[in-house]
């Protein structure tokens, strides 16, 4: 009987464990995806309506000299005058324009500055709220990829992609976590890019090395061992190659005796290479930097081992690459030399710019996976009208970093560029890449994205009381076109999983019926005796019904505790699953670097309410059977 009871508890606990674990992980994944989705795009957006674009306030720039007869972005509107039009020098206001909306004091109403002021007030009232104006445009991204060629020299290839250009949101509190730090491949590439320009190499390398501390070097493929690095009279395994024919090596041992190299105890006449990857702790010899003209002129003190043999000495930067380095990405003030990568000054993120001619851009990390590196140069191209015809205009850019686009459908095509670049393209391009009402606005971030609807409501009320609500449209992440389908899918999945969970739980709880029916049969005599001495049918029924519910509560507790334990050690479980499958059990592109480990409150509530109720219902069937037993029949049969 105890065994059957334990089995019932075990089965229900297992189902509870599965439900809590599954729903917690899926809810965590949903949260992660939503977070990524809204980190880049902000969970709330305030965009100008068509009323704004047909208002005197917006159109006045196009006939005003002080605005260079060009529509101004929200950013410019925030910084510039409310009414740029000079009635004396600028052309007359067309009569078909809507009349200017004025304040009580007769001045022109400024919907941008008022909206920014409302947002500023909200920021003061709401902890963790941040906002920034944004702008979007489109065009072609063209990159020239310069790479070292096998056997020396370099190769050039080109990458072209139609892209969206979005202004870099340096005020976003979440941008920092979306940015991938420069990789060692990026660093090696940056040092490679310094090399072709010999006259500037020393300066460029110094600038880079002022922000990068190289800690480890590793051999890259086969490596010609510097004589000085070999210990005296100690044989080490190596491969001998005929010069230039690296694939025809022969295995043997290498030994240095004085200034002579011995290959299998004979003085070597061929260059000797180690083909095993060796990592060295490395420290730059600073004096080598002063006169360096090329990468190979830089020297390092290194120390490493091959097999059990210690290799120690000084080597040139040739045939080795950076394996580990400290990269400075956060500065307390503007650095003396601008890094090639996105960096922070305090909490503020900065997209590097080397001159007005060359600006840093950020690409999605898929570009990085496909071989694009920090430092690659190129341009943003877009069609613009010139005096004669429509021509392609180019703005020079270089890759300054990579970001995680999350599950954003256009993520791979979205280039983050300085706001002024995006605005320039918007005002000069002859192609409308976006509907006006969605190409610019204010992005609003908050601590928890669930706050978005509530903040939207507050914002709407304040815009209304300021009399500018007809100029603005508030959109939360739930209404974003690119997110709507995903959110609906998440919701459907959640309902489906809950329904499946309910059915499994129902099947598991039916075990209680079997257990209690057996128990009732086993305890017939006791039931009869209790009835004979006055126990009512109701109280007999309550015993078995209560026992069913108690089993449910106990199983829920055990299952939830097991789920908590599993969530805590989820990484180990994933590792085990990956080991069994022979590949990553969960693709990082979809599930993040590790699965969410947070317990879902909804899942917890679901099992803690549903399981005891189902168990109680399951207990009522045997309870009914128990209370229908006739004491006379039982006692007579004993």
């Amino acid at each position: 009987m105890t065994l059957i009871a334990l089995m019932s508890v075990g089965v229900i606990s297992l189902v509870v464990w599965l439900i809590v674990l599954f729903l917690s992980v899926t809810e965590g994944i949903e949260k992660t995806w939503l977070h990524k989705l809204t980190s880049l795009n902000a969970p709330l957006r305030l965009t100008p309506t068509q009323n704004y674009y047909s208002s005197y306030y917006y159109l006045a720039d196009s006939i005003s000299d002080s605005s260079h007869y060009t529509a101004r972005s929200l950013h410019d509107k925030l910084l510039g005058p409310t009414d740029p039009h000079n009635q004396e020098t600028d052309e007359a206001i067309p009569t078909y324009w809507s009349p200017p909306e004025k304040n009580a004091d007769g001045s022109l109403r400024d919907p941008v500055k008022i909206a920014a002021s409302i947002l500023s007030d909200l920021k003061k009232e709401t902890e963790g709220l941040a906002y920034q104006d944004f702008e979007m445009s489109g065009g072609m991204l063209k990159l020239e990829l310069v790479r070292p060629a096998v056997g020396g020299g370099e190769t050039h290839s080109f990458l072209t992609q139609a892209s969206y250009f979005a202004s870099f949101a340096d005020a976003s509190p979440y941008m920092k976590e979306l940015i991938s730090p420069p990789s060692m491949k990026d660093l090696n590439h940056l040092f490679f890019l310094c090399a072709p320009e010999a006259k500037n190499f020393q300066k460029k390398a110094s600038d880079l090395l002022s922000q990068v501390e190289i800690k480890t070097l590793k051999t890259n493929g086969i490596w010609r061992v510097p004589l000085a690095l070999l210990p005296e009279n100690t044989p080490i395994p190596a491969t001998a190659h005929a010069k230039g024919i690296i694939l025809t090596g022969s295995e043997g041992t290498l030994k240095r005796v004085g200034s002579n190299l011995f290959w299998n105890d004979k003085i070597s006449t061929l260059p000797i290479y180690l083909d095993k990857e060796i990592s060295f702790d490395a420290k730059l010899v600073k004096s080598s930097l002063e006169s360096a003209q090329k990468q190979a002129d830089l020297r390092f003190h290194v120390q490493g081992t091959t097999g059990n043999t210690l290799l120690k000495g000084e080597i040139a930067w040739q045939g080795v690459e950076i394996a580990d380095a400290n990269i400075q990405t956060i500065f307390s003030h503007q650095p003396h030399t601008t890094p090639f990568w996105v960096y922070g000054i305090g909490q503020k993120l900065v997209l590097p710019t080397f001159s007005s001619q060359e600006k840093g851009i950020m690409l999605s990390k898929q570009f990085q996976d496909n071989g694009v590196r920090i430092g690659d140069r190129g341009y943003l191209a877009y069609p613009a009208a010139t005096a004669g015809a429509l021509q392609e205009q180019r703005l020079s850019v270089f890759v300054a970093g990579f970001y995680d686009p999350g599950v954003l459908t256009i993520g791979n095509k979205c280039v983050l560029a300085p706001a002024n670049v995006v605005h320039l393209i918007n005002t000069t391009s002859q192609v409308e890449h976006f509907d006006k009402t969605s190409r610019e606005g204010f992005a609003v971030w908050m601590k928890e994205i669930k706050q978005a609807p509530e903040i939207a409501k507050k914002l709407q009320a304040r815009l209304k009381s300021a009399g500018i609500d007809h100029y603005w449209k508030i959109t939360t992440y739930k209404e974003y076109d690119f997110a709507k389908d995903l959110l609906q899918q998440f919701q459907s999945d959640r309902y489906l999983f809950t329904l499946i969970g309910l059915v499994i739980l129902l099947v598991a709880c039916s075990n209680i019926i079997s257990f209690l029916v057996i128990l009732v049969n086993d305890k017939k005599q006791e039931i009869g005796i209790l009835q004979a001495i006055g126990a009512s049918r109701k109280s007999i029924a309550l015993i078995f019904g209560g026992l069913g519910a108690a089993l449910g509560v106990l199983s829920s507790a055990v299952g939830v505790a097991a789920a908590l334990l599993t969530l805590k050690n989820l990484d180990k479980l994933v590792q085990f699953l990956s080991f069994l499958q022979g590949h990553d059990a969960f693709n990082a592109a979809f599930f993040g670097s590790s699965l969410p480990q947070e317990l879902s409150f909804q899942a917890l509530l679901f099992v803690l309410v549903v399981t005891p109720i189902l168990s109680l219902i399951a207990g009522l069937i045997p309870a009914w059977k128990a209370c229908r037993l006739s004491p006379s029949a039982i006692l007579r049969s004993e």
Partner: protein, 292 residues
């Protein structure tokens, strides 16, 4: 497996009858006078009974005071059991009438033996009288209360004490727990009383033993203590010595008759043993479904 029922019963008993009459009993009996309302024998027995063991007169009066429609007159309340025209038939496997128009009145303090051959329906009659089984026809009054399915539990717990041939103790419980079970169901504290009863049946030294470790005679003595715990007016015993040797049977009978007479309880015993039946004040024989 432990079954708890005591807390579930309290409200039911609160509705149906008073929980503690001991303090009221003396007042009521003194006011109404035992000799005025009860037969002399029962009154005499009650006078002899001691402590908290006899409370039925007070209880019945209290019931009458609270719900006069459920109670008979005081003279009728002397009748511990009043069965009229009890019949019992079974439809399957073949239509059989096992009891035919049986009427039986047993007064407080009266001891009655029912004899008969096996299969005559003695146990069925006892179960009907003990509300363990409904009669096909007829009416049953216990201590002035008409037995209906709604008050069976109350009657079994408060008015009737059962003693079975097979003892029917809860084997995994201790002797004391078994004896206390009727009080637990009624949500009453009767620990002291249980100890006194165990002392009386000579089982004090076994009170903490699981019932399954007792001998047959000890088990039946424990069952007698349990039957008397809630101070019922009526004791029903079904072949109480059926599973015992002669020596133990005699002990059990003496104990049972002595306890019933000492406390003025009505006792109905179903037995085969004419020698033991002779110890009872009245002896009936059940034959062909009729009580003679």
């Amino acid at each position: 497996m432990i079954l708890y029922t005591n807390s579930l019963k309290k409200r039911e008993f609160d509705k149906k009858g008073p929980q503690n009459f001991c303090s009221e009993r003396a007042t009521i009996v003194n006011r109404q006078g035992a000799s005025e309302n009860e037969n002399s024998e029962a009154a005499e027995l009650r006078k002899r009974s001691s402590g908290p063991f006899s409370r039925e007169a007070g209880e019945q009066s209290e019931l009458a005071r609270r719900d006069p429609t459920q109670s008979k007159t005081d003279s009728a309340s002397c009748l511990c059991i009043n069965a009229k025209n009890i019949s019992k038939s079974f439809k399957s496997p073949t239509a059989t009438t096992i009891l035919k128009n049986i009427s039986l009145e047993v007064q407080a303090g009266e001891t009655v033996a029912i004899m008969g051959k096996s299969g005559e329906g003695k146990t069925t009659l006892l179960h009907i009288l003990g509300t363990l089984e409904p009669a096909t026809e007829g009416t049953l009054e216990i201590c002035g209360l008409t037995a209906t399915s709604s008050n069976w539990n109350y009657l079994r717990n408060q008015k009737i004490g059962f003693i079975f041939q097979a003892f029917n103790l809860l084997e995994d419980y201790t002797v004391l727990e078994n004896v206390l079970m009727p009080a637990k169901i009624a949500n009453q504290d009767a620990h002291e009383r249980a100890l006194e009863l165990l002392q009386e049946v000579g089982l004090s030294h076994r009170k903490d033993f699981p019932a399954k470790l007792l001998s047959g005679g000890e088990k039946q003595r424990a069952a007698i203590a349990r039957a008397f715990l809630n101070d019922p007016a009526l004791i029903l015993a079904d072949e109480p010595s059926g599973n015992l040797d002669h020596a133990n049977s005699t002990i059990i009978y003496n104990l049972l008759l002595g306890a019933a007479q000492k406390r003025g309880k009505a006792l109905i015993v179903v037995t085969h043993d004419s020698e033991l039946a002779a110890l009872c004040q009245k002896t009936y024989s059940l034959m062909d479904g009729e009580l003679r």
